[in-house]
Each structure stands twice: as C-alpha cells, then as structure tokens.
C-alpha cells in the first residue's frame, strides 16, 4: 500500500513535476499523524508517471484540497527546518 502525504502550496500552479525539496505531512493514522518532515523528492502529477510512488495530497494557502493527488518518491530526508531568519518566507528560502 502506498503511503499518503500532504503538502501545502500558495497556489496549485506553484507545484511542478521533477525533483525538489518539499515539506510533507505523514497521514499515517495514529497519534503521530501530520508529523512533518522536509524531504528531497521526485513528484509527478500522476502515479502512472512514477512507479512505486506514494500519494501526495495538496492543499492551497487557504487549505482547499486539490481533489486529484500527486505522486511522490522520497529520495532523502532533510533537516527539520529551512535556514533563514524568522518571518521570512519558507517557500522562497527553499527555492534559493
């Protein structure tokens, strides 16, 4: 069974296919559900394009769920946080 993850973007259009660093929340049921980690991963719009991938659900800045999930394959885990001064935009720092 593929695992399920969740990520947030400002706009759905901000998400692009390929390799990228991303914060994901683990949706495995239980007391640690929604645990967040930063990973380097390959993501694709459809599971058909990424064999053996897990499921990545996407919500917008306002929390609205994209009904069609993406696919994700985690390459490696990254630190818990992004280097940056408090109150700077996490997304901008990740894209540097």
């Amino acid at each position: 069974m593929p695992k399920e993850y969740l990520t947030y973007v400002r706009k759905y259009a901000d998400l692009y296919e390929g390799e990228r660093d991303i914060f994901i929340k683990d949706l495995t049921p239980g007391p640690r559900k929604y645990d967040t980690k930063q990973v380097r991963a390959v993501i694709a719009r459809s599971a058909k394009d990424l064999s053996g991938a897990d499921t990545l659900w996407v919500r917008s800045e306002m929390g609205v769920l994209d009904p069609q999930p993406w696919a994700i394959k985690i390459l490696k885990e990254l630190p818990d946080y992004v280097k940056g001064r408090p109150y700077t935009d996490v997304f901008s720092c990740m894209n540097r």
Binding site: Y8, D35, R59, G63, R85, Y87
Partner: protein
C-alpha cells in the same frame, strides 16, 4: 479560584459545562463538535476520552466563550450585565498584585517533567481543529511567555502554535506583535535563541490577560493577580529562567532559533475565516514538557463569532483602547468591541463629537500596528453596548459624503483581515476607515434633529401624563 480545575467546578455549578464521555477523535471530529456548539451558543465542552490517548488526557473548549463564563471567571455572578463586567475589568487591570514564587515541588505543573528527548509532544492530544488546517494547533487558548534579556520584562501573549514534528512547533505571532518585536530587536541582532514557554490550561483570567494589549514593561503576572483578586503562583521553567503559572495544566518550554524557519498554517483564525499568510512561521524548538497529572489541554476552535477569542478581545481590547484614547486626551465615554465584529470593528462613544474628534480617534488607531479596520464614533447619548442604538446612529448620522475618513498604510496592517488580498497581507498593506456618527459641532443646537424615542422627543410633562395613565389605557 486557583486554577482551571476550580473554574471547571464553577462552570458545572452554573450549568455552563458539558462533559463528553464518548470517545472523540482529535483529528477533526473534536474541532467539528466544538465549532457546532459555538455556532449554537452552547456550553463549554470537556472531552474526557480522546482517541489514541490514555484515559485522563482530556481537552476543554470554550471556557470563556460567553459573557456568563467570563463573569464566573472573574468571580462575579453569572448574570452580571455586560457594562458591569467591563467596569469591573477596567478597575481591576489598573491594580497590581505581586506574584508568589513557589518551589517546583509545590508546583502542580511539575507533576510530570520530560526534558530533552523525553519531551514527546505527541503524548498530548493536540487536535486538528478545522478540516484543511496546516497542522495540529496545540496553542490556541494559550499564553506564550517571553522575556526581554535587557530589562527582564516578561511578556504574555496569545499566539497560535502548531505541532511541526517531534522536535519543533511552528507558530506565527504577527510581525507587529510584541513577541516578534522582542525576537527581532533583542535576540536576532545577537544571534541568540529566544527562550519561550507555552502555557496551556492556566487560570482563565491568565489567558484573558494574554489577549490584552498591555504596554511594554507592564508585568502581566501582576495584572493577572489583580484580575484574579489573589496573587498568581509562579514557578521557574526547567530549561530557562522564565516564570510560568505553577497551577497551569501544561507547559511547553523551548527556544526560538534565529536561523531557522518552518512552515506555519493555514489556520481557521479569529476573524472567522481561514485567511492570512502561510509558510512564514517561526520555529519553536521543544526543550521540555511539564504537565499536571491528568492534564487538561485548553483550546478554542476559532472561527466565526462568537467564541472565546471574540469575547476575550471584546473585553480586553476595548478597555485597552479606552485607556489609550483617554491618554491621548480624547474625551471618551465608553468603547465597545462587539464580539460579532471580531476586533475589526470598534464603537467609540465621545463626550464631544465632530469630524475633528473622529480624525483624532483614527490617528490613535493607526499609530502603531493596525489590528482594527473600522471605527464608528458616536455621541455620548448613544449606549455603545446596545447594538440597536449604535447601528441606528451609524445608519442615520454618518454622512456618506463627508463623515467617513480613510487612511491607507503599508507595513503595519492586520495580515488576517479577510478582505485584504494575498499581496496586501504579505506586505501588511491595509486601510482604516473612521465613521463619524456624531452631530457636527457647527450645527446650531436648535437644528439638531431630536431622536424620536419616548424619552427624548416628548417633554417631561407629556411623559409623566402618559405614564400616569398607562394602566388606564389597558396595558
């Protein structure tokens, strides 16, 4: 009343609390129940069995969600009229009561102590409150305590914090908040992490104080003591010298690094929408968790009014504004922040009106951070606590062409205001409108329209005559 547990007993005696014994899922279900009960003006809820958690780990929602519960928290009769609650609060916050410093052995919040890797945030039943929220918000009805390293001033504030993972919380005290100012001015320049303590389940008035707009330097533990009518017991944190309420249910100790950021939000916030910025959170590195036996996690399923946040701010913000306006020399009679307006709308009563006074009121509100976006200024004969009266004054006395003053600004607006677009929120761009619903000072007295109520448009002689025959009319 020493703590939340005593308060729960008082709520039960006044039939203001409902215990939910059926197991409830912390994942959305608990939040959904809480929100529905707010929508129906229902009781405070105590969830006694939470899925995935042992018996005894409970959650309480809505402890100050009505004026009756606020009155009970203040030790007043539950039916105390709103104006009297305001007057009593205003009187008490002017006082100061030195806190008692207690030994950790005498502090209930130290009954269970977990430090370093032993501090597992997932042992606490933090809820995912709204479907679509960015995480499990463990800090909603909280008090976040930080300390100025130069002056030792300790600030209490109510800020949202969610679980990021085992090691971090993510939060977003607004960039104009005292939390952010202390971090950015006192810790970031020295590249020193800022110690912080997140207090959950303290005496309800401690949380009310955390929502109050106090000036820097004011010792909020002393104010909380004055509000309670007895000193607050404080105890030192395990990992810093921050002092926290000893009878609180849960304390999460940590620090804010100056070189780390984590995504925060989105979250269904106090204006009643899931608005605001996302992914600009501060990282709260967890260093210790201490809690009472059978800890009670206090929360508020924030949203459309009325709930704890809109009630608390209605009181604490209004009185803070009244005192601030008076310090500016504005002859204020009363200030009311209707909970339904979620601190975006304020009603100010003045002894002498006119557009110039309204402009002075506006200047006060936009001087620093601008959390409010609209103020209605009314004459002294309008009871600001009576919505019928100030709506009537606004609708009829505010000239649409010459009685509305608008100011625009950047860098100090409320990023949670739902009508601002995404770009405005990011750069804190906003506007403030003051509505002058007072009679122009230059109008001759004889040209001011009399209000057509029984008490105002009829002479005393006519009133007396009618009242004397009232029963004879058949009433």
């Amino acid at each position: 009343m020493k703590d939340l547990r005593h308060f729960i007993g008082q709520l039960e005696q006044n039939e203001e609390l409902m215990r939910i014994k059926k197991e409830v899922d912390w994942d959305i279900e608990l939040g959904a129940i809480s929100r529905r009960v707010y929508d129906q003006y229902g009781p405070c809820l105590w969830f006694e069995k939470i899925k995935d958690y042992p018996q005894g780990y409970t959650v309480i929602n809505g402890e100050c969600g009505t004026w009756r519960r606020v009155a009970i928290a203040m030790g007043l009769d539950a039916n105390t009229p709103l104006r009297e609650i305001y007057e009593e609060y205003e009187k008490r916050i002017e006082g100061r009561l030195q806190p008692n410093i207690v030994d950790r052995k005498a502090a209930p919040c130290k009954e269970n102590v977990f430090i370093g890797e032993q501090a597992d945030i997932y042992r606490l039943p933090a809820p995912l409150i709204h479907e679509g929220d960015g995480g499990r918000y463990i800090g909603t009805w909280d008090a976040v305590i930080t300390k100025d390293p130069e002056t030792n001033w300790t600030n209490w504030g109510m800020y949202r914090f969610m679980i990021h993972n085992q090691n971090f919380l993510a939060g977003w005290p607004q960039t104009t908040s005292q939390f952010a100012m202390m971090l950015n001015e006192k810790y970031v320049p020295k590249n020193q992490p800022m110690p912080v303590a997140l207090v959950i389940g303290s005496h309800p008035l401690d949380h009310m104080v955390a929502t109050a707009p106090m000036r820097p330097g004011v010792n909020e533990a002393e104010v909380a003591g004055s509000l309670r009518g007895e000193p607050v017991d404080l105890v030192k944190c395990e990992t810093s010298d921050i002092m926290v309420p000893a009878n609180a249910e849960i304390i999460i100790e940590g620090e804010i690094p100056t070189d780390a950021i984590v995504p925060d939000g989105p979250f269904g916030e106090y204006p009643g929408f899931r608005s605001g910025t996302m992914a600009e959170g501060v990282a709260f590195r967890i260093k210790a968790i201490t809690h009472r036996n059978n800890p009670i996690l206090s929360m508020t399923a924030l949203g459309a009014p009325v709930d704890d946040s809109s009630i608390a701010a209605s009181l604490t913000a209004a009185v803070g504004m009244k005192l601030g306006l008076q310090r500016r020399g504005i002859d204020v009679t009363d200030v009311y922040v209707p909970p339904e307006g979620v601190t975006h709308l304020v009603i100010v009563g003045v002894k002498t009106g006119g557009i110039e006074v309204t402009k002075k009121v506006l200047d006060f509100f936009i001087a620093r951070r601008v959390m409010v976006s609209k103020v209605i200024v009314v004459d002294k004969d309008v009871d600001v606590f009576d919505m019928k009266q100030w709506i009537h004054a606004f609708a009829t006395k505010c000239h649409p062409g010459r009685s509305i003053v608008v100011e625009h600004f950047v860098g100090k607006s409320n990023a949670l205001t739902p009508c601002y677009d995404a770009e405005e929120r990011r750069i804190l761009k906003g506007a403030f409108a003051a509505f002058d619903a007072t009679w122009p000072l230059e109008w001759p007295k004889e040209n001011i329209p009399p209000r057509a109520t029984f008490k105002e448009i009829y002479s005393q002689e006519t009133q007396d005559k009618v009242l004397a025959k009232w029963h004879e009319y058949g009433f």
